[in-house]
């Protein structure tokens, strides 16, 4: 059990999902079984009461990536409620396709376009926490990625803001997709809306860890996140 003791704090989480989402159960497992957080799945056709302490928009291929990755999910009914939650300052995390959805919804700046070399990248990658997160995770770590559109772009001015305001959450040690500034994840101005391409929820069990060191590096992310809720 983590040091933040999410269970004792009675934290509640909401996990949004859409047709084609495929990482929602990994998140429910992580939140409920590892962190003891009561977690509710929120289907896209329903609005919801913004009564959870934190929200996740999981990975997958919402709407088959039709039109643009995340474009159609970003315009769903449940996303209207998520925007209300954002205004109330709730913690919101978009992972992989969830990151794409948050940029499409305008909750995070920029966009994620096709990987520079056109290939789907599915492997563990080296990462370093950056910006304000560097104080919480002070050593390099590794997480799995699996995406075709993880190449982060934004107007130059936005990139400058992200750097100067410490809003880059983590960077790839090796640029696997052509992402500007090696960006793997960012936050909004408040630091309470997060988007990242790597999958911390896939690195929470000792058996997930390809390095066989049983480091479960996904916990660096979740422990830090829950400390902020």
């Amino acid at each position: 059990m983590n040091s933040n003791n999410a269970k004792a704090r009675n934290l509640r989480a909401g996990v949004l999902y859409f047709p084609g989402t495929n990482c929602e159960r990994d998140l429910v497992h992580a939140l409920e079984n590892i962190y003891g957080i009561k977690t509710e799945l929120l289907w896209h056709t329903e609005s919801f009461q913004t009564e959870h302490d934190l929200y996740f928009v999981p990975g997958g291929f919402s709407y088959g990536d039709y039109l643009r990755s995340g474009a159609l999910a970003a315009r769903s009914i449940s996303m209207r409620s998520l925007k209300e939650a954002a205004q109330q300052g709730r913690m919101i995390v978009g992972i992989c396709n969830g990151f794409q959805i948050l940029t499409e919804a305008g909750l995070l700046p920029g966009a994620l376009v096709r990987n520079e070399k056109l290939k789907h990248v599915c492997r563990w990658v080296g990462l370093e926490a950056a910006g304000k997160w560097a104080a919480h995770i002070d050593k390099p770590f590794q997480l799995p990625v699996s995406h075709s559109e993880g190449n982060y772009i934004a107007p130059e001015e936005t990139i400058r803001e992200l750097v100067n305001e410490g809003r880059i959450l983590c960077k790839y040690s090796e640029n696997v997709n052509g992402s500007t500034e090696n960006i793997a994840g960012i936050t909004d101005r408040s630091g309470r809306i997060l988007g990242l391409m790597p999958h911390p929820e896939r690195a929470l069990e000792p058996t997930n860890d390809f390095t066989y060191t049983k480091n479960t590096p996904g916990r660096y992310f979740f422990d830090t996140l829950l400390g902020m809720v």
């Binding site: 643009r68 474009a71 159609l72 700046p109 376009v113 096709r114 520079e116 056109l118 772009i153």
Partner: protein
């Protein structure tokens, strides 16, 4: 009245468009002479019910702005034609 709307969505010049780049490099390799650059975009047909061409155009523009293109990475041109 029905209007046929056409929406042309292309990546901004400043954004790498890898599909077009791959097509371009392959065709250059196979000796198609005089091909300088290829960029692949999207063409979206939208059938619209509206009272006038002006209304059809404004409905299509609203749809394009709302969802059909993303101004961070793309540019969009629209037109409508009575059918």
């Amino acid at each position: 009245m029905h209007y046929q709307g056409k929406v042309k969505v292309r990546f901004k010049k400043s954004v790498l468009e890898p599909q077009g780049k791959a097509v371009e490099l392959q065709l250059k390799e196979t000796h198609h002479s005089g091909i300088l650059e290829i960029r692949v975009g999207k063409w979206i047909d939208v059938l619209i019910d509206a009272e006038s061409e002006k209304e059809a155009l404004s409905k299509l523009q609203a749809l394009a702005d709302e969802v059909l293109y993303n101004p961070v990475m793309e540019v969009c041109e629209i037109e409508v034609e009575k059918v």
